[in-house]
Symmetry: C2
Subunit: 393 residues, 2 copies
């Protein structure tokens, strides 16, 4: 890719994100919905104005990492611990219920032609939660400091750890044909140790590190070292098979406890302003509206399978939301906030394809389900969080 090609791609992506994001806000929806739809439109499957290149993908992933870093920076660790039990129950039910529903429905829809591994895998895909879109919607509508946001974000982090165990288990079954729960649990334990360790070691050490940075003379020292820390934890998380965004979130949580929190946030903001929309536009790239053409061969079947799975995906997570026992909590909003599968679901789907668990047709359906849950969340979450008569105290 030449620089000229990258430059014009970024011009198209950013301009589309801003125009459709603006339109979305004017229509009373979060800006992120416009960005997603913009991505579908300019992406390779519709207008083809921008190709899905490696560079755009990596810039998009930087965007996801910066988004969760920023969310971490604006969060208070104590508030998470206070809703810890609620978040854990939401995460556990939010994994178990969609898995069961997905497994059952896949059996009913006759997707078990190649053995129980396919229904099992479809269930696992429905269990994954991507917190990116919810974090963005909560930020868009100014709800990031709410109790609901804490439960959702806390549950999403736990969900990622639990999802990791599920994924490792399923991949193990696919590879060896037998259940190796031990190694899957080891993977999960390692992830927990990393997260807890990074935060417990990071919080007492960060003030010393920042004092050293403060004594430096070069320009941009604070944002540079903050980003080095964020990217290092993102890399570590990926190395432990966690999502990079979980590492970035942990880095944000650590720096949120320091005196420089406000300065770091202020400097991360323009970076996030540019990179985060690239992520959501890029997410839209993989949507293939052609699949849902009822006139095309197999079109109705695709619509049916995808529709049933989307409904299961929504019901599973919304029900999980009602398991959070916190007084005055908008539990519907918590459940809706857990609905999007986003990039985590896409990772699951592409892993299933590369490991030969699912075929190309089922892969397309899985991607469609993942993206439908992502696109319906912004308006649903906004609606769920709107103040209602009986809830106004």
């Amino acid at each position: 890719m030449t620089f000229a090609h990258l430059a014009i791609s970024l011009v198209i992506i950013l301009a589309t994100a801003k125009v459709l994001g603006e339109l979305s806000e004017r229509l009373g929806q979060p800006a992120v919905l416009g960005e997603l739809i913009g991505g579908v439109l300019i992406g390779p499957n519709v207008l083809g104005w921008v190709g899905d290149s490696e560079v755009i993908r990596l810039l998009a992933e930087i965007g996801a990492v910066l988004l969760l870093f920023e969310v971490g920076l604006e969060s208070d660790l104590e508030e998470f611990l206070r809703v810890g039990v609620a978040a854990l129950s939401v995460a556990l039910v939010g994994i178990a219920l969609p898995m069961t529903l997905g497994y059952g429905l896949a059996m009913v829809l006759g997707l078990d032609g190649r053995g129980p591994i396919v229904p099992l895998f479809m269930g696992a895909t429905l269990a994954a939660t991507s917190v990116g879109i919810t974090a963005r919607v909560l930020a868009d509508i100014g709800h990031l400091q709410s109790k609901e946001a804490k439960v959702i974000l806390g549950a999403a982090v736990l969900d990622d750890v639990l999802g990791l165990i599920v994924l490792a288990t399923i991949a193990g079954i696919a590879a060896t044909g037998s259940l190796a729960l031990g190694s899957a649990l080891t993977t999960g334990l390692l992830a927990v140790v990393f997260l807890v360790g990074a935060i417990l070691i990071g919080i007492p050490l960060a003030p010393y590190a920042l004092r050293a940075v403060g004594r430096m003379r070069t320009r941009g020292k604070l944002i540079s070292w903050a980003l080095v820390f964020c990217l290092f934890l993102a890399w570590s998380a990926e190395r432990l098979h966690l999502a990079a965004i979980i590492g970035a979130f942990a880095a944000g949580l650590v720096l949120a406890k320091t005196d420089d929190q406000a300065h770091i946030k202020e400097r991360v903001r323009p970076l996030a302003d540019i990179f985060v929309p690239i992520f959501f536009v890029w997410l839209g790239f993989s949507v293939r509206p052609q699949l849902f053409n009822p006139a095309a061969p197999g079109g109705w079947h695709t619509i049916l399978v995808a529709g049933v799975l989307v409904i299961a995906a929504v019901i599973g997570k919304v029900a999980a939301g009602y398991c959070a026992r916190v007084p005055g909590l908008n539990r519907l909003a918590v459940g809706v906030g857990m609905v999007p599968r986003g990039e985590v679901g896409l990772i699951f789907a592409s892993l299933g394809l590369s490991q030969g668990i699912i075929d190309v047709g089922l892969y397309a359906v899985t991607v469609a389900v993942v993206l439908l849950t992502t696109v319906i969340t912004p308006p649903m979450l906004k609606w769920a969080l709107a103040p209602r008569k009986e809830e106004i105290r």
Copy 2:
């Protein structure tokens, strides 16, 4: 490239840039010198901690574009016009003299075995100026608002247009064996029309555009649209065979005249803080210290040829600096500021290689000359700009 690979590469690049940049400043040198040396060390030719991938190159080019965008944002167009004649004479002599010197020395060194095209090409490579490093040094030592900075930046822009004509001419000779000055001049004229047109049309329209942006509601609207404008002009410049950084500089000049200049500058800064060091570290990647090993076969010959050409490169530009007739101007500093060939020289060299004008050996020498002029400039420029007894008024 996986995201984990990119993340750890960026961690290494940014940490190296900050540590060696800091060291450089503590030793009384501009931070950029440390970044360049850091790039040599961690790059593929020495330690090999970071590979020279497409993604890193593109991020580096974004850095160069952001650097010149920022310099443009801090510049006043009128001040450039005021030193226009001086800048033009520096640019003209700065092209003619190094070309003549390079041509003559290449003949003396016996590089005309394949006809006069090789000496001609070596001369053209010595004529190119890269303003990136000088702009960065001037910013590092707080001299961006000086008269010298205006002459250097103005001359560098003119230099790029003139260099474009020279390059088009030489490439034409190499391709057809005959001189096609007409088409080369057309290329140059087009570039001038673009630059003048972008600025003349941009300045009256920018306030209206920014007023429209001001009425928008989405987050990050100002930085997003400013960057869209910058990248669009960078892309346009590349399409007209100018350097992308010239387009970015023009975009900065246009926005510098608006009421939002300070806000835009403030938001571009963290982006530049992250990307600009990536550019300079990446520049260091292509240095191959192995070539200058006197014990290696041909080592002494390489050192001799490179040394002679570097001296010619410095003398040519320093003499050009003395052609600037502006009262009270530090003409030595102007000449030194024109010395670095940077990425423009690298583009020349790789074009010469791909067009078969020079062979791999001569390519290596050309790259070495380009990079030596880049590495020696920061300390030389700092020294040239230091106040001297006879100059203190």
